[in-house]
Symmetry: none
Subunit: 406 residues, 2 copies
């Protein structure tokens, strides 16, 4: 609703917006570090210089108590309702593996398993074969399963027993059940359409043919002599940044998952030379004239949080702070710094906690806080904002939203 009203009010402008996402930025006050969060503990002279003139807040990615995955977390920051905008597991896996997804493609998560002579799955993970074995077996399977009917099959090995399958061809549907018993001691159930429709039936036929072919090709291999396929989903199609916001958008991210989600939003994709914020900023500088909107992704904060490494998270934040002068030198009209979700060091995992956000712009409402961190954000003028409404605030500050009504 909000989104439809907003989009009807979008007007063009020559302003530039930067959305700098520190993955998993949000954290908890840490008793082992004087009750400070990593963002609070970090030495951040450049953020400190920026903070007083910025609007701060804590933004909510999905809903109270709900811990977002990377997909929903980023979709929200890109201005898509993360509950209504569904991206299937297979699609996210394919994007995370850096596979291209075209409109009409169906993607799936897949893995090797061990099948007994009786047709019963004895190990769903095929003894967790090493990634090298997986790569060899995927290559072997790919040779034997290039195409079923008029559908191209594209496989890509992952970690351990995992791989990804993309099906490309006319008239495929994504509403198909798993060819996976989800527990040992049962046969592999054939995939079938979850809802009526030729497109879904066709996908199910191809999946079942692939599973069948795999059992033939892998006959004699041990322990990986069969495959399971799950999370089938069609590449979703929703209106992108140009259509919704009249923005030429660039995504600069070292990891394929984030480029992938940005691709769904219609952004052009760029992989920086390294994982640091400085690498991302350098690439933004290179393409500064070509785009109106830049999504810059930094993964290190999330990785440090997942590792439970407070000092590492602080170090990543300080390194981002160090790259801020180069970014500001580009003179973006609007700069937002936030995360797709929290990954608190004490939890070593994504969490449901709202995420600190900073918006710097001439008209942002300068909250006057001395520093940018979770505690100040509680009382900031953006507090309580849904993450998927942040884009509206950025567009407004960029002079790209017309008045509503007379």
């Amino acid at each position: 609703m909000t989104s439809r009203v907003l989009e009807s009010l979008v007007i063009p402008n020559s302003t530039k917006i930067v959305l700098l996402v520190l993955d998993g930025l949000g954290d908890l006050p840490n008793p082992e570090h004087g009750g400070r969060t990593p963002l609070e503990a970090a030495r951040t002279p450049n953020f400190d210089a920026l903070a007083p003139a910025a609007a701060l807040g804590r933004v909510l990615p999905v809903a109270p108590g709900v811990t977002p995955g990377s997909g929903p977390g980023h979709l929200a920051l890109f201005g898509y309702d993360p509950v209504e905008t569904v991206v299937g597991r297979g699609v996210l896996e394919a994007l995370g593996a850096g596979m291209e997804l075209r409109p009409g493609d169906v993607a799936a998560r897949a893995n090797f398993c061990t099948l007994g002579a009786d047709g019963i799955v004895s190990d769903r993970r095929a003894g967790r074969i090493p990634s090298e074995t997986c790569a060899r077996l995927v290559a072997k399977l790919q040779q034997a399963a290039m195409r079923f009917e008029d559908v191209e099959v594209i496989l890509k090995p992952g970690k351990g027993h995992r791989f990804v399958a993309v099906l490309r061809g006319p008239g495929l549907g994504g509403e198909v059940t798993d060819a996976d018993p989800h527990h040992e001691g049962a046969a592999i159930p054939p995939a079938h359409a979850r809802v009526a429709g030729d497109a879904h039936d066709k996908t199910a036929r191809v999946v079942n043919a692939l599973v069948q072919r795999a059992a033939e090709v892998l006959n004699g291999e041990h322990p990986a002599n069969a495959v399971l396929v799950r999370g089938l989903s069609a590449r979703p199609h929703f209106p992108g940044y140009r259509e919704r916001f009249q923005l030429r958008a660039a995504a600069i991210a070292a990891y394929p998952m984030y480029r992938g989600v940005a691709q769904l939003a219609g952004m052009d994709l760029f992989a920086p030379a390294g994982e640091s914020a400085a690498d991302a900023v350098a690439l933004a500088k290179q393409h500064w004239g070509e785009y109106d909107f830049f999504f810059l992704h930094v993964k290190g904060t999330d990785m440090a949080g997942e590792d439970g490494n407070f000092d590492a998270k602080v170090a990543v934040i300080e390194s981002v702070d160090g790259s801020l002068p180069q970014l500001l030198a580009l003179r973006p009209d609007v700069l937002a710094v936030t995360g797709d979700h929290s990954t608190p060091v004490p939890m070593k995992a994504h969490s449901w906690h709202p995420v600190p956000a900073l918006v710097h712009a001439r008209t942002c409402f300068a909250d006057g806080f001395e520093r940018f961190h979770e505690k100040n954000c509680r009382g900031g003028s953006l507090s309580g904002l849904a993450s998927c409404d942040l884009m509206a605030v950025l567009l407004a500050n960029a002079g790209r939203i017309h008045k509503y009504g007379a």
Copy 2:
């Protein structure tokens, strides 16, 4: 929407959650008490010890400016949208009177009135007869109105002229208009179905038969010679705590109304020996091993607020504070302390003001405030939360919500 997403993410755990509700807890800064609220003025060493490690906030029961009754206030705290989850007046009245309500039952508020020889209601409250008279007349009416068609009628006297009627039998509906002119100088209108349906027609017939029988039985009584029936409603059915949240839930409340609303949410009901928090905590201790979730209700704060008695409200809060050590000794993984609504002393009534809330858990985001009261809650990390989203936060802190998306 949010609720459906949340419920799809619920996972089991062995953690325990306590929701301690101080009825009508919220209040206003009181000029006669140095601008302090009762929660602020109370001596609460145990809350003070807890506060710095807790997340604080003000939660909104229904909507801005909307003053909740006890029903919606508690439904919201139990995680039900209080606007979508409708519980009729008759049902609430029956629950408040401690009457059992089975699925299919229809309940109504009723009262004695004075009917003239011309069939016109001359006093809708029958001169506010004393409760003793009411009890005698209800007993007399009950004798004469045990059953109409195949429907059992169960009456229970209330205060003054008021009583409650429960109809129990096959095929009853709750969408029935009042047998009550709502003003003097008019006849008693017959009840009729508000929407088409045999079930509603049947209820209307029974109500009209009851009103008719009452006029016969009470003929000769004065001033209470007839009855009015209103607020007809069927016991609602909605999914309970086990179904929604995989929680075995216990409600410990001295007053039947609160046990009744908890029963609608599928909780098992316990009546403590007395009205104090210590009584409730003692009972929780007794059943600690059997349940995952404990709702503890303390009524005194609301009563003191309704009485406009600042000191009494302070005393109840201090007494709750005194019981906190026994509660914490049970080692709940998540403890929430809040109210179902505000009952400010200066207003002597329920009000629309958001309600202070405290959530204590390992992962709650320790706000670091020195004390738990309305003013600190404004700037807490839970501020702005809808009361019906509080359950999501409790479940998340209890490790009972799976990640959303990949």
